[in-house]
């Protein structure tokens, strides 16, 4: 059987200043090549959990395994070379005077040799579409560009797993799509992608697995189609399914939604549903 690349075992976490546990009994397995979105209200524990994956936080109880190896005792800097972490606000991690230096910082610390650093800098800037800005100061870039720069800086360390906390906050639709397309491309090249997001439309369009968290626990875990087609359970934790799935749930409750990703897919399904030659009672319509 395939081994998970990341696994938690009965993970509990409590911030030192708090009484309550921020994470409780988390058992999750993530496999190589997955594209996973963690969703849930602010304070549900998504970011806290993801920070355990590269050692930014350590469990109060329980274990985290990376490639089958217990991460306790492995320093964060070692983990960071396998598991890259992009913060929600790119400005919290950008600090260098030029785009080139920003990118080179991580690889330099990992001891990559100079010629490798130079070639990888070019490669990652190309991947995020920022080649022409190589000598610009990072803060002269737009917000969407800075987000992509932050992703590039982490990519330059050649991690297998890429964690991006809220990749599209504060970006318009066009910029959001650009970033998500970049992540899809990296995923197809073999990177495991883990994101958090409040944008259910983007999640349903790009992620292939959705983990819904609530009150420090995993509430649901499955394909977007499965998670989003249970509106009652979503409502309990104040998540609104994308319109598509709300419509699908109402008009085609028994249909196979595995191929419904875009509004056009749903329209096709609805069309078949409405014009299928079956009595209304079987049709599942209102």
């Amino acid at each position: 059987m395939k081994e998970p690349i990341l696994r938690t075992e009965n993970l509990y976490f409590r911030y030192p200043t708090r009484e309550e546990y921020a994470l409780r009994a988390i058992n999750i397995e993530i496999f190589g090549g997955e594209f996973v979105a963690f969703i849930g209200q602010n304070g549900c524990g998504k970011t806290t959990l993801l920070k355990h994956f590269n050692g930014l936080l350590r469990p109060t109880q329980g274990k985290v395994f990376l490639y089958g190896q217990d991460t306790a005792g492995i320093p964060t800097c070692k983990l960071a070379s396998k598991v890259g972490y992009v913060f929600q606000n790119p400005d919290h991690q950008i600090f260098a005077d030029t785009v080139r230096e920003e990118i080179a910082f991580g690889p330099k610390n990992l001891g990559f040799d100079q010629s490798h650093i130079e070639s990888i800098t070019k490669d990652v800037l190309k991947a995020v579409g920022l080649e022409e800005y190589i000598d610009c100061p990072p803060f002269s870039l737009g917000k969407g560009q800075r987000q992509r720069l932050a992703i590039a800086a982490v990519l330059a360390m050649e991690p297998d797993i890429l964690i991006i906390d809220e990749p599209t906050t504060g970006q318009d639709w066009h910029e959001s799509i650009q970033i998500m397309e970049l992540l899809r491309e990296l995923n197809s090249q073999g990177h495991t992608i883990i994101i958090t997001s409040h944008n259910m439309q983007l999640v349903s369009l790009y992620a292939r697995r959705v983990v819904l968290m609530a009150n420090g626990e995993i509430w649901m875990d499955g394909t977007p189609q499965r998670v989003f087609s249970d509106p009652d359970r979503l409502r309990e934790v104040y998540i609104k399914a994308p319109m598509l799935y709300q419509l699908a749930h109402r008009f085609c409750p028994n249909a196979d939604l595995s191929r419904v990703v875009t509004p056009e897919d749903l329209a096709d399904l609805l069309y078949d549903q409405i014009y299928a030659c079956r009595p209304a009672s079987e049709r599942g319509a209102v």
Binding site: Q41, N42, G142, K143, G144, T169, G170, Q171, D172, W173, H174, E175, H198, Q201, Y238, I239, K240, P242, M243, L244, Q246, L247, R250, F251, T262, P263, E264, L266, A267, D268, L270, Y271, I274, Y275, C277, A280, R283, A285, V286
Partner: protein, 293 residues
């Protein structure tokens, strides 16, 4: 006389090679709820700042054309004076908050206006009431959630009792609960007849409130009309990089498949009504007709 009149407005930031606004003209009547949309860099924030008089006085550059707010030419009046007529709420509430508790944050601008004590107290209560933050009045903004902080920023603007409220992506950094908190306040303000300009990326939110939508691209107005007309114009939206409501796309596709839809739906409720009618209309056909279909 319209409440807002903008005529041939151009603005070039100091040091920029291209103007951010290139000859923008429109008027807004009292009580209108206007959505302002367009891609990043279209000039939406520049326009908001020009309406509030921050441009050209605080943010420097070269301005051409004129802006009148309630009859005041913005280049002949102080920002502080304009602020009593037009309030601007920005994307990043934290950047706007500077005091150590919610109450102080709200009364600070009122004290600067040297209003009488009783008047300040009255406005404070009214503002806290409008944003539903009465219980949190003594808290440091640090202890508030994003949605609550944005409501404090909104309250401090509302306490100035402006006739016009401009919200520049005021919800784009909030989680869904925070978005709902802020938008429900906005919807109450609309019901009270405030003139509101809302810059918003999410068309599914905008469609709930806006009567009219202005579309900016590359510093120019490319469309201005009733919200329904603009937001069902899918090719226009896609052209400017804005994602139409999903339900509108569903409707569009059903039309392409040959269904006769007189109007594209914009909200989930409209979509449900439309589909229910389609299902019903089909169920009424005889078996034979169905097979033909």
């Amino acid at each position: 006389m319209p409440l807002i009149e903008v005529k041939d407005l151009t603005f070039t930031y100091r040091g920029a090679s291209q103007p951010a606004l290139k000859g923008v003209s429109f008027t807004i009547e009292a009580g209108e709820f206007v959505g302002l949309i367009g891609p990043t860099g279209a000039g939406k924030t520049t326009l908001c700042m020009a309406l509030a008089g921050i441009i050209p006085f605080t943010v420097l550059g070269k301005m051409g054309g004129r802006v009148w707010i309630a009859g005041m030419n913005t280049i002949e009046h102080e920002v502080a004076e304009l602020a009593q007529v037009i309030g601007l709420v920005l994307q990043d509430a934290q950047a706007q908050l500077l005091m150590t508790d919610v109450e102080k944050e709200i009364v600070f601008p009122l004290e600067n206006l040297a209003l009488p004590r009783e008047e300040i107290a009255r406005r404070l209560e009214a503002a806290l009431d409008l944003v539903h933050l009465k219980e949190m009045r003594r808290l440091h903004p640090f202890y508030l959630s994003g949605g609550q902080r944005q409501r404090v920023a909104l309250a401090s603007i509302l306490a100035m009792e402006p006739q016009i409220l401009v919200l520049d992506e005021a919800t784009s950094e909030l989680d869904p609960v925070g978005v709902e908190e802020v938008l429900s306040v906005v919807s109450e303000l609309k019901a009270k007849g405030k003139t509101i300009i809302l810059v918003e990326h999410n068309m599914e939110e905008l469609v709930r409130f806006a009567d009219r939508v202005i579309v900016l691209r590359a510093g120019r107005i490319v469309a201005d009309g009733p919200a329904r007309q603009i937001l069902t114009n899918i090719s226009l939206l896609q052209d400017i990089g804005v994602y139409p409501p999903q339900i509108t796309l569903v409707g569009q596709r059903l039309r392409e498949l040959g269904l006769d839809l007189p109007e594209l739906p914009l909200t989930l409720d409209e979509g449900i009504t439309m589909l229910e009618q389609l299902v019903k209309a089909h169920a009424n056909l005889s078996g034979e007709e169905r097979v033909v279909k």
